[in-house]
Amino acid sequence: MTVPTTSRVQRWHVIRRSPTFWVGAAITLVWVLSAIFGDLLTPYDPLGTPQDVLNRLQPPSAANWFGTDELGRDVLSRVIVGARQVLTVSLAATVIGTILGTALGLVVGYYGGLVDDIIGRILDAFLSIPLVITAMLALAALGPNTFGVILVIGLVFTPLIAKTVRAAVLAERQLDYVTAAQLLKESSFYILFVEIFPNVTNVIIVEFTVRLGYAIFTVLALSFLGFGLEPSIPDWGLAISQHYQYLTGNIWWPVLFPALAIASLVVGINLVADGIAQAFEN
């Protein structure tokens, strides 16, 4: 029996029949829309006004559905626009990591040999330190800023993505069409980018979506730890770290609602990533 090749149509069939993909896509869409159009939807100014302080830490009510925070700002308004920061930072970091990682993976996978060995070792060294700690280290050294977060996550993703792309390139290199191209005296550049690259795009797409989920996870952890993000911008992780000390006083709303927002966003994105991975890997 011949091995069926998956076409775009078949992939779409797999995705279409996956209920979890659709649930994930719906959740993700809600947060993306609120990140873009959030300002039009919020009942109050998410950044708050000076008078808000008089109204601090109020429990949920008809006026403030999710209550108010320690500065009296409306928690609901801050939750609605809170996705913006994490989504832009994660997306930018993942895009950087994917571009650099793909380039590196293609080159290392194709040339192999010593370059491959050296980069493999550096990669292992990188991977010995958890991403959150690498990011903390770099941010402590460089000073906290949003761009630093993007850069650190992007750079740590680079070897991770390179590793996956490299494996895919190695598999492609074994195929005869590469030999055929060599027999036509094609340049290495042509073989790598015109012959091999189109055949590893599926792997890159899957890797991108999985990494995006992980970037969100890391950005949130960093913001919870108070690293690298502007304190004035509404941010779920920061909101939790600023308010969890109040938990013992039974003031749960400034913490619980951002926590639920985080949970729904990461689950949503990862259900989408999982659906895409299954469609592309089968």
């Binding site: 029996m1 011949t2 090749t5 076409s7 069939h13 029949r17 195929l175 005869d176 069409y177 030999t179 055929a180 191209a181 060599q182 027999l183 036509l184 005296k185 094609e186 012959e195 189109p198 055949n199």
Partner: protein, 669 residues
């Protein structure tokens, strides 16, 4: 069937099997019926995708998760196998029915020793614990494993494919089953190993008196092994009957077409083309009202397209699913028999002198090629034969400039020295030496269109712009007999044969002088193989191109090759005109290769003992002495014979004089 006939062991009746693809159930097997009598060997033969393995797995009650038996029954010794309880099923598998699989290297648990895996079978049979290890050794000895006491302590990855298949066979016959199912048990093994396994299976079958269902794509193997055969096509049994009758006097157009596609030992490429079967296998689950073969059948009439024929009994205890079985033998040829006319030249084209290639593996040298001298003339076909590991592909890669040979190796093209690596060769040399690969799926970039694949080669090898290259691409498509409808197609839209045509067109983009063909038809079905061989022959006549043709199929080699070079462990053992090499007297290694081919010669078989030695530790003396059935003594073990030209254009590397070889080989039969 006569009334006195004893009850058959296996009765398959109106079997239908569906596969769930996406959300739909598609018919894979429809209305298949056959029986196997006691001690009979029944063969199921057909091309890939016809449903052979599906039938076997249904009998084993082990269909894939998306498969189901939709109709019919399977009875073993009168007992229905389709509706067994799990315990009954286990009992049947332990005692009555066993299977041997296509790929022995994955068939055994990699983390359990051989002995323990074989012992399982005896445990299940209820053999007491203290007797089991002896029984294991006995059964391994029975499948002719040398030193079974040592093998029981081995893990699967320590044994060769041939050895593993013996172990699987040992497990299968241990319970002396009522029915033994063999699914392509020798596919992927070297011809010499295949021959041994086939001999073993025949002997064991006679010994324990089991019935056998033998599944293979190879008509030759089925013919050699089976009493009766069934020919499957698109999930239908098209013909059935005694093997002899089905193969010598076929009464179904499909069987006729298949047999005509096979190159035979009597006819060469300059005598006649091979016949082919036009068209394609219908897709799985296709809704076909009439005969499933009507689309491809030259004698089909209206009734064939409207009414599906039954499997009708004919004279001589055989059956054919055809409305016109009597017309089948007179099936018109799909292609004209007239062979293309070739120019005859003897000018040398490529001269390979003293070519060696040493790889370094884990710090040890591996001598993949050793002092090869070979000349390829303009427009001729030189076949390279030998077991896997003999260095055929390495020689091709060196010639193509993919691997650089060792210092001192010289390859010339039309008298000019060829740069060792392709990147140092000029455009003309690059276009002059091209290649057709074994696996067309791997040879074409799945993301590029046919137009792009061929067009790019044209532009690079001819140095022309886009417009003239488009023209030339169309010409090339026409030359490989492909319609313009494929011009913008991607490889996934093409069948295996069409992909191979595209690959051939690419190789011919720059008017090559030499095309290396590395097993170009071994991944293809016989009917497609015939068309590709015809195409290669035609292109050779038109373009006066030379082929270096690597193949393990000696029938194909005999049909196509002008000269044959036999390789063993990186050395040439025998080189000469095809007729001379095949006609004999041959080198003992060639003799063994020839006798291993299932249908060339009947009679006593030359057995090769042991396995091909590692090229990193070649034996002293003659390379072949460790396995040579005609070894004459110490000289073979100490001194390596030279490749000596004993007659014009014929050389042999053996201590035994040619005349003596002739005498020895004449006494066989």
């Amino acid at each position: 069937m006569s009334e006195a006939a004893p009850k058959p062991i296996l009765e398959v009746e109106n079997l239908g099997i569906d596969y769930k693809i996406g959300t739909e159930w598609k018919t894979a097997i429809r209305d298949v019926s056959f029986t196997i009598d006691r001690q009979e060997t029944f063969g199921l033969v057909g091309e890939s995708g016809c449903g052979k393995t599906t039938v076997a797995m249904a009998i084993m009650h082990y269909l894939p998760r998306n498969g189901r038996v939709s109709s019919g029954s399977i009875r073993l010794a009168g007992r229905d196998l389709v509706d067994l309880s799990p315990n009954e099923l286990r009992d049947v598998r332990v005692n009555q029915i066993s299977m041997v699989y296509q790929n022995p290297s994955t068939a055994l648990n990699p983390s359990i020793r051989i002995g323990a895996q074989v012992a399982d079978v005896f445990e299940l049979m209820g053999v007491p614990k203290d007797e089991r290890s002896q029984r294991v050794i006995d059964i391994l000895a029975k499948v002719q494993i040398a030193d079974p006491a040592r093998v029981v302590g081995r893990y699967p990855h320590q044994l060769s494919g041939g050895m593993l298949q013996r172990v699987v066979i040992a497990m299968a016959i241990a319970s002396e089953p009522t029915l033994l199912v063999l699914d392509e048990p020798t596919t992927g093994l070297d011809a010499t190993v295949e021959a041994e396994v086939l001999d073993l299976v025949s002997n064991l079958r006679d010994d324990i008196g089991t019935s056998v269902l033998y599944i293979s794509h190879s008509l030759a193997v089925i013919r050699r092994m089976c009493d009766r055969v069934g020919v499957l096509y698109a999930g239908r049994l098209m013909a059935e009957g005694a093997a002899e009758a089905v193969f010598t006097d076929p009464r179904h157009p499909y069987t006729v077409g298949l047999l005509r596609s096979l190159p035979s030992s009597e006819i060469g490429r300059d005598e006649a083309t091979l016949d082919t079967i036009p068209g394609f296998l219908p897709p799985l689950g296709a809704d076909i009202k009439g005969c499933v073969y009507a689309d491809r059948c030259a004698i089909a009439e209206d009734i064939c397209r409207d009414v599906e024929p039954d499997l009708k009994p004919l004279t001589g205890n055989r059956f054919s699913r055809c409305h016109f079985p009597d017309r089948a033998p007179d099936l018109p040829r799909a292609v004209a028999a007239e062979p293309p006319v070739r120019q005859t030249e003897t000018e040398p084209l490529v001269e390979i002198s003293n070519v060696s290639k040493t790889f370094i593996q884990d710090g040890h040298p591996v001598y993949a090629l050793n002092g090869i001298d070979l000349t390829i003339h303009v427009g001729e076909t030189v076949a390279l034969v030998g077991e896997s590991g003999s260095g055929k592909t390495t020689l091709a890669k060196v010639l193509l400039g993919i691997d650089a040979p060792d210092e001192g190796s010289v390859i010339t093209l039309s008298g000019e020295e060829l740069a060792a690596e392709v990147r140092d060769r000029g455009q003309e040399d690059v276009g002059a030496v091209q290649m057709v690969f074994q696996n067309p799926d791997s040879a074409l970039n799945r993301r590029h269109s046919v137009r792009r694949i061929i067009g790019r080669a044209v532009r690079l090898l001819r140095g022309v712009g886009r417009k003239p290259s488009d023209e030339r691409t169309r010409d090339l498509l026409a030359e490989v007999r492909m319609g313009m409808e494929y011009y913008n197609a991607k490889p996934r839209h093409l069948s295996g044969g069409l992909k191979q045509r595209v690959a051939i067109a690419r190789a011919f983009a720059g008017s090559p002088a030499l095309v290396v063909c590395d097993e170009p038809t071994s991944a293809l079905d016989v009917s497609v193989q015939a068309a590709i061989i015809n195409l290669l022959a035609e292109l050779q006549a038109e373009e006066n191109v030379a082929y270096l043709f690597i193949s393990h199929d000696l029938n194909v080699v005999r049909y196509l090759a002008d000269r044959v070079a036999v390789m063993y462990l990186g050395r040439l053992m025998e080189v000469g005109p095809a007729k001379r090499v095949f006609g004999g007297p041959h080198h003992p290694y060639t003799e063994a290769l020839l006798s291993a081919a299932p249908d060339l010669q009947e009679g006593a078989r030359i057995r090769l003992e042991g396995e091909i030695p590692s090229a990193s530790e070649p034996p002293p003396g003659c390379m072949f002495q460790t396995r040579c059935p005609r070894k004459i003594g110490e000289i073979c073990e100490t001194i390596e014979p030279d490749l000596v030209e004993t007659e014009a254009g014929y050389s042999i590397r053996c201590h035994i004089p040619v005349a003596e070889l002739g005498r020895l080989q004449a006494t066989r039969v």
